[in-house]
């Protein structure tokens, strides 16, 4: 059983974070970011060609984290691989000691740096979750028996700000039926609105980790409001960032994230912090949020 699974079952407030592999073979920066998160978070997501930009794969960086005794969450998208490659990568991941997998649709290649690439999407995220379940039960998608089966702890994502929410909730239910055992959400900035979402999904009895994006500037907040589905950074927060002198902005960003986390503590089972390059701020944020030592954190 992965540490993440254990922690979520134990009922403690769980913190996860993430790193993004680099474009090129120099993993130093990426591994350093992961190192900063040691003992602070339970598990570290490794993104899979985030924003459809070609980079080192999630699998390789996850394996490096395992080597160092850090617990990864292998992000796997449907964008680039057909069902043969997806199942193979999942089996490979298990042999490398990777126990958590997050199943996502993935961005469209058109939005990335190789816009002419063929969009695969042979499976969708629900079918991918089902695939993980099938592999966990010792079979492949074609029904053949496996010589040695994995036992992944599979998660999925949900966007609590989606409109219409009904459509998003139906998909969430399908993901759970297909085998999703935890959820990480799109960035949350409005705890009250998020609490209403949690009311609706509580009955599913699947742990939800609210997404925390570290706001680096008012401009970034405005950009997200305009371009990212389901995100509503309140005007008050944007004003607060605007009023902050440049040399104090990191402090302010940390303060805002910590405040959000404190408010979310009573609402959901944990948070997933997306530092977007500011991983070194995470320990400070957790300290301010009163979560310095994570119970069972990645040692």
């Amino acid at each position: 059983m992965s540490r993440l699974e254990k922690a979520l079952h134990s009922g403690v407030f769980v913190v996860t974070s993430e790193v993004g592999p680099p474009k090129g073979t120099d993993l130093q920066g990426c591994l350093q970011e992961a190192e900063v998160l040691r003992d602070r978070v339970i598990a570290i997501n490794v993104t899979d060609l985030q924003s459809s930009v070609m980079r080192v794969g999630s699998l390789a960086v996850c394996a490096r984290l395992v080597e160092r005794g850090l617990e990864p969450v292998f992000q796997l998208t449907c964008r680039d691989r057909n069902r043969l490659a997806m199942q193979s990568d999942l089996l490979s991941a298990w042999t490398l000691g990777i126990k958590n997998v997050l199943c996502l649709t993935g961005d469209h290649p058109v939005l990335g740096d190789h816009p002419e690439a063929k969009a695969v999407f042979d499976l969708d995220s629900v079918q991918l979750l089902k695939t993980v379940s099938v592999l966990n039960h010792g079979r492949d998608l074609a029904g053949h028996e496996l010589e040695g089966a994995p036992d992944f702890f599979a998660g999925a994502v949900v966007n609590p700000g989606a409109d219409p929410l009904e459509l998003q909730l139906i998909k969430m239910e399908k993901k759970i039926a297909a085998g999703a055992q935890f959820f990480q959400t799109q960035a949350v900035f409005e705890p009250e609105k998020f609490a209403r979402f949690m009311e609706k999904v509580r009955a599913y009895r699947v742990p939800v980790l609210a997404g925390i994006v570290i706001l680096k500037s008012a401009g970034m907040a405005r950009y997200m409001n305009k371009n990212v589905a389901g995100i509503g950074v309140p005007e008050g927060l944007i004003k607060e960032l605007e009023a902050t002198p440049k040399n104090q902005i990191r402090q302010k960003s940390a303060e805002i994230a910590a405040r959000l986390i404190r408010e979310l503590k009573e609402i959901c089972q944990g948070v997933h912090i997306m530092p977007l390059g500011w991983a070194d701020l995470v320990p400070e944020i957790l300290e301010m949020a009163g979560l310095l030592e994570m119970a069972g954190a990645a040692k």
Binding site: T105, L123, A162, E173, K174, A229
Partner: protein, 241 residues
């Protein structure tokens, strides 16, 4: 209908060898409707090529009116009768039609004659108006749209997702392009309108992409229709004539 758009003139000229004599051929059905290979476009292409110094021996759009170039029996007959003399004088045929038209021309001519595509075939579409043709089906070989209210997620969703929308839809618009409708939003509205929202809860299995693979054939013999992919029969059904 098969939607097509003409290739850039420079690209077409690039296909032609030094001093190559060419006959410009259109199609009076789909290509005519797409204004890529009807009578006016075929004539204009012959003229534009001549102006660029290409040796154009003639042009033509096989009749009868409205006939598809991809109807081999008709194209072959026109080639053997009406176009016989002019085709004897040409090195190649530039086809202003989809790839099916190009292949029909290969089938209708003996091996000596070259064939060049003059259009990009872009999709099979519904002719919504005379000015607007839209892709609503991708010929996947296994129609699953009963559970989506008749709207095809392969054609309407940028990612071809089968079990509901990705997380990127916003105000009913697609994350890939905010000026385009999210296909799953359209499906949701349609199912709501016909009172079948419960269909959205159904788990849709991964598609059988063998039915989407090339080469595919349809054979009609006696009272049976058969759909083949490579050497395999994917579907065989009785037909009542």
């Amino acid at each position: 209908m098969h939607a097509t758009i003409q290739k850039p003139l420079e690209e077409i000229i690039g296909y032609l060898g030094e001093g190559e004599k060419v006959f410009v051929l259109g199609c009076d059905n789909c290509a005519a409707k797409c204004r890529s290979g009807g009578v006016p476009e075929t004539e204009a292409m012959a003229r534009r090529l001549s102006e660029k110094g290409v040796k154009v021996v003639g042009w033509g759009v096989p009749g009868p009116k409205g006939v598809s170039l991809c109807k081999l029996s008709n194209t072959r007959k026109v080639f053997q009768e009406e176009y016989r003399d002019v085709l004897a004088k040409t090195d190649s045929i530039l086809v202003l039609a989809c790839g099916l038209g190009v292949h029909t021309v290969i089938d209708a001519t003996s091996g000596e004659i070259g064939v060049h595509p003059g259009c990009d075939a872009i999709f099979g579409g519904e002719m919504v108006t005379d000015e607007f043709i839209a892709e609503y089906c991708r010929d996947c070989g296994e129609c699953i749209i009963d559970y989506t209210g008749g709207l095809c997620p392969l054609a309407l969703c940028a990612k071809g997702l089968l079990n509901g929308p990705c997380g990127g839809a916003q105000n009913g618009k697609c994350e890939v392009d905010r000026t385009q409708d999210c296909g799953w939003h359209l499906i949701y509205e349609r199912l709501r309108a016909i009172g079948r929202l419960e269909l959205l809860y159904r788990y849709q299995e991964p598609k059988n992409y063998a039915k989407y693979g090339a080469p595919r054939r349809l054979t009609l013999n006696g009272d049976q229709a058969s759909f083949h992919f490579l050497g395999r029969v994917m579907n065989r059904q009785p037909v009542k004539i």
